[in-house]
Symmetry: C2
Subunit: 384 residues, 2 copies
């Protein structure tokens, strides 16, 4: 492949406010040119340079490919019966993860990889061009390492989540499990992971346990992420800020101090409205976070227990309906915000030097992603 | 076409409780046979009779095609800017309809039909095999009649909704508009419509005006439907029951008396969670209605102002998450319930004598429609 030009873009959402109108940096009647998969030119369609291949998008809206910075696609089995029970009265609890752990341990490497590939392909069809993928349903040295190998088949953004929950065999001696995660398991997994993550929550790991694991992971050269403040108030956010984590995810229950700490940090708040939808939770205070100056991302949290969706368009609709973001802010959070959550400066924005990951919508404007909830609007996806 | 057999159905949701387990009448390892588009046999895959064409659905779940009993697909223009403003603080008001009325009057017959066809095709791809379609953005004798001609291009379930809102030119003399709707407009429209509908709501029509129009429509041979109790408590439900309407739609704000009246009637409560999602309204009390013995349908209310979606899968997910229906009840309401709302005994259920309108899911169970929100799970649609 040499050069490609996308022309006749009715509305181009660059996700860079310096390039056009509003937070999404909107341009109308625009064009984009890329060479060898990297954007080399963005501007008015009328002055688009020639390219080897010309793609006329027919006046459609074009946005950056979604950056889904929080998914758990490596697992076996499903939990639709648990979901149905929860919807008729049984509350969500982190312990349900253990059901999937048993199925995952029993599955072959091929089955784990096939499941991750199936979900990554499903996500790509819906416009997700960059995907973070966690382990966390193996919870042994062997099963976490092979989970990360499976994750590596679909993305470079792999995350070691041995500290997802304490497995049943360690229920009576959780500190031994923490030592395993921070020791032998980390050593086995670090070669296959870019990130480490800890679920800091009642029923999972406390702040001191989280700090032990994240410190060891940092020493092993991994970037840090935290699951925090999902099921109640707690120390996940403050631990993430203290450790300089790239992201703290969920953030459903935040104090004013949590928001202030995030605003003064480089830690992104990655919100996961799908989990709040599917567990019938309250929603994270995205409006307050945004107004406080926190960098906000939204992600799918795709997993078989609390959020079995890959749909970033639905995440956008929920962020608008339930979290008080404007459609423009929600699309920014699903693209540029996701890139910030993964500390990536090569995706999530349509600008010179970034990868040409583009999504054309069957709609005249990005607003339709929230205005037309549930409708498959992703018409074409280009991921060079 | 002669006979077709669908075999290797992992889970068949018939939507007839007499045929299998639960409200959806579930069968496992099932098959369905149809001749000339009408179902002639339903039973275990192992004893499936031979047919001219054999379709192996690969163990997937199969459900009846959705029956979307409330849509407004005949219009021109869109209102994404109004939507974005509403999501950042401007409340929904019925008067916004007038924006679409102006665009619709200015549009050609071909443009109106093309818009309806585009939305019907979009709905079909998402599993909707029977669609009701209303007029209501013309609001002149000429424009209502041609709107119904456009609606007739996509469905036989056409509904005359001249009484959608009082157009601006009649704002000072609404009773003259009621007389027009019940007189000349009805006469022009009745040949193209199966149903008549009235929007009984503050800002639209009161109960006496609604009764006048519905009485005239009944005399003209049309079946009756009512938009009621959407924006507040009111007389829409009681008028629908009094008139023997097939359905009263929205039902967001109901008194105990309203629910009791519905339970003692043949009027279906057609709930439209998409409108409640996109106007940030409270949700209709589906759980209370169902438990009181009311027949409940769910529909998309597809329209450019308050619910611009054709996604029955998302309506199911919302009915479960927000309205307290179980996944089985929600799927029933989207299929058999929709058929009841349209007083149809030939669609909405997979049983001998019904049309072979089948949907195969990219999932092992109908539960996934709620468990996997936003994910396009409709793999194949058959509408004979």
């Amino acid at each position: 492949m040499a050069s490609v030009a996308w022309t006749n873009i009715g509305e181009l959402a660059t996700a860079d406010s310096s390039m056009g109108e509003g937070v999404l940096g909107l341009l109308t009647d625009a064009a984009v040119v890329a060479e060898d998969g990297v954007i080399t030119w963005v501007g008015p369609a009328a002055s688009c340079p020639a390219a080897d291949e010309m793609v006329d998008v027919g006046g459609a809206a074009v946005i950056p490919g979604f950056v889904d910075a929080h998914t758990h696609p490596v697992f076996a089995g499903e939990r639709s019966a648990e979901f149905a029970a929860r919807m008729t009265g049984t509350p969500y609890a982190a312990g349900g993860i253990r059901t999937t752990v048993a199925a995952t341990r029993a599955a072959s490497d091929d089955a784990l990889r096939a499941n991750a590939e199936r979900l990554a392909a499903e996500a790509l069809r819906q416009g997700t061009t960059t995907l973070e993928a966690k382990s966390g349903y193996g919870l042994t040295v062997f099963d976490e390492a092979r989970s990360l190998v499976a994750a590596s088949a679909v993305t470079d953004e792999t995350t070691f989540l041995g500290a997802h929950v304490v497995p049943e065999e360690y229920a009576e001696r959780p500190d031994d499990y923490v030592a395993l995660v921070a020791g032998e398991m980390l050593q086995a997994c670090a070669p296959h992971a870019r990130w480490a993550d800890v679920f800091v929550e009642r029923g999972a790991f406390d702040v001191d346990q989280g700090r032990t694991i994240l410190s060891a992971a940092r020493d092993a050269g991994l970037g840090l992420r935290v699951h925090g403040n999902q099921l109640g108030f707690g120390g996940g956010v403050s631990l993430a800020v203290e450790m300089g984590a790239a992201s703290v995810d969920h953030c459903t229950h935040l104090t004013d101090d949590d928001i202030e700490a995030l605003a003064g940090s480089n830690t992104v708040a990655t919100l996961v409205p799908g989990a709040e939808f599917s567990t019938r939770s309250t929603y994270a205070p995205a409006r307050r976070l945004w107004d406080a100056g926190v960098t906000v991302a939204i992600a799918s949290d795709c997993n078989p227990g609390s959020s079995f969706t890959t749909s970033m368009p639905l995440m956008i609709a929920l962020a608008v309906r339930e979290m008080g973001l404007s459609p423009a802010e929600a699309v920014w959070a699903a693209t540029a915000g996701g890139a910030a959550s993964l500390r990536r400066d090569d995706v999530g924005v349509i600008a010179v030097g970034r990868r040409a990951h583009l999504v054309a919508l069957d709609a005249p404007s990005y607003v339709h992603l929230a205005y037309r909830p549930g409708v498959p609007l992703v018409a074409h996806v280009w991921r060079s």
